[in-house]
Amino acid sequence: MAILHVSFGPQHPGSGPMRLILDLEGDIVVKAVPDIGYVHRNIEKLGENRSHIQNVPVLERISNIDSFNASLGYLMAIEEIMGITPPPRAQFIRVIMSELNRIMSHLYGLSISFETSGLLAPLYWGIADRELFLDLAEMVTGSRITYTYAMPGGIREDLPNGFKEQAIKTFNYFEKRLDEYYDMIFENKLYQMRLKGVGVLKPDDAIKLGATGPTLRGSGVKVDVRADEPYATYEQIDFKVITENAGDSFARTLVRFNEIKESMSIIRQSLDKLPEGPIRIKAPLRTPEGEAYARVESGRGEIGYYVISDGTDKPYRVKISAPSFRNISVLPHMLKGAHMADVPIILFSTDPWPFDSDR
């Protein structure tokens, strides 16, 4: 049969600002080549031309949906070069914001993945419930998406009065709601038929090809930066690293779903353990000469920041290793042999975010 070349994206409603170049034989994908770069801004170059504090709002835009985690990695790297450690209260609040952001990111990604699997109503449930978490973030930082909340040496402002009560109210509601989600979505036979066994990624391949985050844990590999090299206060918190063994689209989606519950538990523990004290220490404007590689676990996986300082107030080099960059590069492996109709399902089971893959 003749090979048909199909451009899936970048103007396709189910692609995001990226493209998959598919070679089809009938409706089977024989080859898939991801084409990224449509939203490339060269944020690494911008980072070299701005001071550390100016870099916070710029770098968090690599992943606006997960912006706190995106800026946190950079700050951890420069704090390591400066040789300073933020006070415990700031560290706990960082964990709280980081997990809130992971929940928002997961809800958004999951909602879209439900839609691409043919479940239209859950798209609106997820987006509507996400508003509650945006409200919590707004309460803390004043903004809903990009916060510029973490600062060198700590955080910008303390938690407002009444945050704990509001957060617990939201979690009490949402934990029950998640059970409904589970029954309606993951127990749905049609949903299972569309996702199970689709886009299988074996654990060895997942590691070798560089998958990260829920894409890697959906293949049964227990790798999570929060557990492997605990930053901030993760060492003092009791949480499970969620994995699923099947390695298919269903497993990857379920990992992200189960992580939401775990994130809420982490925030509950952090609120209980939250010590009194300062939220920031004075950080120098200039970093001494040196380099550091800091990693954080964002919603999509590990964000790595390799920062080199030459002793000025600007970094000499900022390298960002972004999770979607790594996960999208693994897509050809998952898409090979799939049906054309399953392409959006596989694509969104990895929760791609072209803004962070392109930087």
């Binding site: 590691i207 090299e229 590689y293 290793s321």
Partner: protein, 151 residues
């Protein structure tokens, strides 16, 4: 915090690669600096013998004052939970080194990006074409230090 594991791994690398500069930076970070002709050999050793199985990042660094590029591979061991920073240096006027793609398949896009942004050639890489920059880009390398923002 104990650095026993890191020191042990660093000793093992040192004993097999006498030319390498090995340093334990902190908990779970080891830095190795080695000549480009030994890159393949050390990468194979790290992967096959020491369990470093995932490349998490590849960076180029333009050392314009020293007329050189530094190429940095960050390699993670999912079993040992240690990150090796593997560095090598190439001259700025002949920036090429062997690709590690035969050992770590995951370096594919990372090396492609480093080639696009710095003009560093990875010998043996199957496809060093466009990745992030637009079609019809004039062939300059945006992350080199002599490329300024106003360009």
């Amino acid at each position: 915090m104990s650095l026993d594991l890191e020191n042990k791994l660093a000793e093992e690398i040192k004993s097999h690669f006498l030319e390498a500069e090995v340093k334990v930076q902190r908990k779970s970070r080891i830095t190795v600096f080695i000549g480009r002709e030994l890159m393949i050999e050390i990468a194979r050793y790290l992967n096959k013998k020491m369990g470093f199985d995932q490349v998490v990042s590849v960076s180029g660094v333009d050392k314009i004052k020293e007329n050189a590029f530094i190429i940095v591979y960050h390699i993670w061991s999912t079993s040992k939970k240690v990150l090796v920073t593997l560095k090598t240096q190439v001259p700025r006027d002949n920036p090429s080194l062997p690709s590690l793609i035969k050992i770590f398949e995951g370096v594919n896009w990372h090396e492609k990006e480093t080639h696009e942004m710095f003009g560093i050639k990875f010998e043996g890489h199957p496809d060093l074409g466009r990745l992030l920059l637009p079609e019809g880009w004039d062939g300059k390398f945006p992350l080199r230090k002599d490329f300024t923002l106003t360009q």
